[in-house]
Symmetry: none
Subunit: 227 residues, 4 copies
Amino acid sequence: MPTTSTDPSQAEPGKRSRRKEARPGELLDAALDLFVEKGFAATRVEEVAARAGVSKGTLFLYFPSKLELFKAVVRLNIAGRFDEWKLELQTFEGSSSELLRYCFTVWWERIGSTKASGITKLILSEAGNFPEIASFYRQEVIEVGQDLIRCILQRGMASGEFREVDMNYAIYLVLAPMIFLMMWRHSIGMCVPDELGITPEGYIRLQVDNILQGLCVRAQPPSPSTP
Amino acid sequence: MPTTSTDPSQAEPGKRSRRKEARPGELLDAALDLFVEKGFAATRVEEVAARAGVSKGTLFLYFPSKLELFKAVVRLNIAGRFDEWKLELQTFEGSSSELLRYCFTVWWERIGSTKASGITKLILSEAGNFPEIASFYRQEVIEVGQDLIRCILQRGMASGEFREVDMNYAIYLVLAPMIFLMMWRHSIGMCVPDELGITPEGYIRLQVDNILQGLCVRAQPPSPSTP
Amino acid sequence: MPTTSTDPSQAEPGKRSRRKEARPGELLDAALDLFVEKGFAATRVEEVAARAGVSKGTLFLYFPSKLELFKAVVRLNIAGRFDEWKLELQTFEGSSSELLRYCFTVWWERIGSTKASGITKLILSEAGNFPEIASFYRQEVIEVGQDLIRCILQRGMASGEFREVDMNYAIYLVLAPMIFLMMWRHSIGMCVPDELGITPEGYIRLQVDNILQGLCVRAQPPSPSTP
Amino acid sequence: MPTTSTDPSQAEPGKRSRRKEARPGELLDAALDLFVEKGFAATRVEEVAARAGVSKGTLFLYFPSKLELFKAVVRLNIAGRFDEWKLELQTFEGSSSELLRYCFTVWWERIGSTKASGITKLILSEAGNFPEIASFYRQEVIEVGQDLIRCILQRGMASGEFREVDMNYAIYLVLAPMIFLMMWRHSIGMCVPDELGITPEGYIRLQVDNILQGLCVRAQPPSPSTP
DNA sequence: TATGAATGAGACTTCATTCAT
DNA sequence: CATGAATGAAGTCTCATTCAT
């Protein structure tokens, strides 16, 4: 009977506790952190194991190789958040402008501001080394995400709210600011944690404002400035 | 800018000795390509040497370590083209809208479409591993580049052509599309060389159109569809 | 030979408890198979346990280490069947030629064609790594077996049936074909299960014929082609 | 130009001498010794390298993996000794009995008594782990060797010197004593280096005598006893 | 200067062994 | 007794770096 303790590693049931269900998740979390932080090659499996609180050997009990661990991290962190979004999109009742703004907000809450954003940075950084993963990501994430964006834009054009633009390029009006922000925060942005006066929310608001200014047939007034 | 010379072998600076002098450059070119494509860790110095046509030992004659080679690649490729640009900006005679579009065009010709764009991809990808390089890049390139963008925007606002927006965020209206395109082409974009219907030029045009639509007090009509 | 029992679970010595007592034997059987097939080093204890139908931990309940398991396998499988043989030899009533042929037959039935032959293959293969086992085997098996062969040959020479030959070498006329066949079947022979036209029985017959042809003072005619 | 010296490590031209041509051979020799002595799995590459006088990394300069090193050892030590033998066989001028005895003698000199014999032991021991190598050995060595034996026996039968026997089995009259001796000397035989009174030559003589006694239509008198 | 053979620290991975349940 | 999750020493292989030629 371990003593009760206030430590977050909470009443651990002994060094060699049997937690088969919990292990993979802990390892994947640790791996996500480290892969994002240091890249695939520079991350040592021993470090991943240590951060998950287990030994090197234990990691290989759950993942047959470092590469498979990497793939599992990618898979876990991108898996089907899109279905949920698609549903929200289809049942959204406001204007298309509001929908687009809502889309950015939700993206930021669920992806952009979370560890999941690190995955994108990771994939873009390592695409050259793992074409297999890159094209997997392309199909499973990029394509699906672009479809979502396309739906929103088409909704706006169909209702006459947005002007007609070449859809293949218009998608990037939405995609580029998102991808950029994720890359930026996980690279250059890391050096200057609190750049005075710059917040992700402010960045997003101006980007959305600008997209809508350019896109709307009757330009809506830009949202009031940040407090 | 090699000088033209006739005798490759003797007392004058011929082919051989020129080659000799050119070695570091060839190595840096090869290294840039490989670092961009595969990242720092996954690039083997032997490969760099081979691509430059020399032996592994020779590489270490010019660069004391792999890390120094990396730094040299970064240093060489971010060397300021900004003075030249600043001059062009200050002597530009058209409208600020035209200037902004011109700025994008020039950027694409001199940076975006050239190997130089690879350095941005490289830095962003490896920022986590080499913070000192990242912050060096931040100071030498990002800050200066942002200044340039700021000047353009201020010119437009001062003349009443652009509406007033928070400059700290507005900068990213210009920066994000540029950075995104460079990252994209060097990562995910590499898998699908000629995605039908998508050209960098088209991408840039729509981005600029949109920025100007959102920025101009009297929205100029978007540029005609095809050049 | 399991007894039929109705209740697998309770107070009587049913399936479960018998199984329990049988465990070491099942482990040793499984280990013999795998050691023979793959050698000591390439055999994983987990595999042995799995083949015996128990977990890895259980194996270590019965055998303190892999090496001890190995030794136990060897010990079990070389345990003297020789006393029995010696008796048969001493009470044999036919000619020495018949005795020799009988000896081969019995050897084939009881050793050569059974899993016991595997132990010889195992010992010879691993002798270099486990000299103590090898010399143990030498003393317990080889010496004793050679004695047996010596007795047979001496019986034949004493009765004038066999010509006089140097006993130290003559022993190998009998031993070599036996050892060879065991090694062969457990190594190269495994690749080609039914090499057309070659049977162990045929091999043995010709070997015996030849030995007797060479050994007998009045060469007996070789045995007829087929049984 | 190495200086003449009495030391076997002969005026070594420096620690890091360039001996690209010599290295593979030295490594293969060392590997042969160790593989034969300890088996494939129990041999560590570092040990092989050390015995060859180089570092671990150097070994991988010449052989891409431990398995490839193993294959190279096998290939080197079995390659084309057979062509030479075939020629000798076809031009042999004595009786078939003499030829058979000569064949044993030559085999002993060139294979049996040399390190090459270790290869056979090695293959038979490891056949289970490397079916690929086993079948390679079977085709390249066993088949060819059996052909050679077959030729000799057919020569004897054709000339009426040997009686007719089923060739498929007769081959093993010759093969078995050879294989046995090689296995024996590299396993059990290693424990007792100089077993008094037993020499390989004596073993071979008696085996040949016995084969010929059994095979010849007019049994030739056995060769006189060993001095 | 240029070479490329050689090095050895360090990474991934395996597996005999332990031990809490 | 039995289990199987966990461990960590040990082995294979890589690659930046050195240095004799």
